[in-house]
Amino acid sequence: MRRVYIIGTGATAVGEHWDRSAASLAIEALNGALGTIPASRLGALYVASALSGSLHAQSQIGVLIATAAGIPGIEVVTVEAGGASGGVALRQAWMAVASGAVDLAAVVGVEKVTDVLDARREAALALATDADWEAIHGVTLTALWALLMRRYMHEYGYTADDFAPFPINAHANAVANPRAMYRFPINADKVRSAPMVSEPLGLLDCSTAADGAAAVIIASEGLARELCANPVRIAGSAVATDTLALHSRPDPLWFNAAAQTTTAALRSAHLAHSDVQVFDLTDPHGIAAALALESSGFAERGTAVALAREGAITPKGRLPLATGGGCKARGDTVGANGVYQIVELVAQLRGQAGAAQVNGARVALAQCMGGIGATVATHILTLD
């Protein structure tokens, strides 16, 4: 396998882009990532989108974007893996370049959720659950996370207030991110007094589904040295799955796919858990980040919330999370989240993350999740 590098990143602001189409957002991100590299040099395009089929009644959205980018004819792969779509697309690109089949590839994650109103969006998001055995009962992804949060509180003796450090950290970091949706700080009182969305989850511990597109350019080692002054290596890449329905798992508070992919990605990077200096996770709620940290081996079971309370997840802490705002404050672009994560972590490794910069970061971990841990993609990024 060849070494694989990220040589360019681009992203749109996350928010409500009423006047723009999915293709328009995707092209802005792709152009940003390409910089001076002509699109015609791309050997393949990987497009991640979780909701394009259900919300826009548009399959083959990858071809739509290739057409808009003026590169019809290119090999295109459209990836749908719920909230893990971006990470799964990145892995496809990584495999293509690592194998030698492709030298230069683009990964574009795009989500356009504001073209439909709330109930249809909730239904589309709930498509990531099991349609016959979960969604038919009216459960939403948010409700499933809330079930896990309640059980976690029951097992480990936490209160809902104990989860506040996650959204507080996300908002604090988003202030410095010009692409973030919510660039204002919040405090524990605000989190506590927010209206309930799905008990025990309140509004300020819930991400907002939003529009956005992010893109990264993936290159072989030779091309990376030719085209880029500061490439970032994808040192580890793994995707794994769990049962589609949460209720089918022996221990719902344990994300086996997160555990497996983290171990596999670190092993192929020849790194240990303790080497990772900055994280970007699927963190629409504090409970999601907590369970991901624990299942991935970065916190003992039942301790991630306590670690967050002690400040471990801030840019100055041991497990810095959501340095660009995460799903909560950057905005939840669902299938594009996995690509936004890479854009954010590349900035961290290049020392370009501004106020949320983790000092001396050389190893980063991106992990995105489809459904409730049904698909997990984990990537390790390093500086050579």
Binding site: W133, H137, G138, L147, S198, E199, H247
Partner: protein
Amino acid sequence: MDLAKHWRLRHARYRLEGQRNRLTGEVRFPPAPPRPGEAEDVWEPYVLSGRGRVYSFSVVRQPPEGFEDQPPYLVALVRLDEGPMVTAQLTDCDLDQAAIDMPVEMVTRRLRDLGPTGLIVYGYKFRPIVQR
């Protein structure tokens, strides 16, 4: 119009019919096709008792399409006495009455109304046990 997909699940939905493994006695719900390598008839239909306990629960206040007339409603993971866990709504239960480990029993209720030109989808929900 969704007809076949609801029709073929009627036994599981209406009466909580899962499967039991003829060889090991393992009970599973929901029913599923035999896995690769398993004999076609190794899983036989098996109606679960409908008794269980709440593993966890929440309230849906921002409903998906098709459930707009229902909120707020309780949803739960229920650990059935036979072992499997299911996702379902709690019914006949006040929002402040639900609790982890609360004993519940299955009832067959309306899950969704697909509108004047569609089906009424019936299926299992769970409620606090009515005293014998």
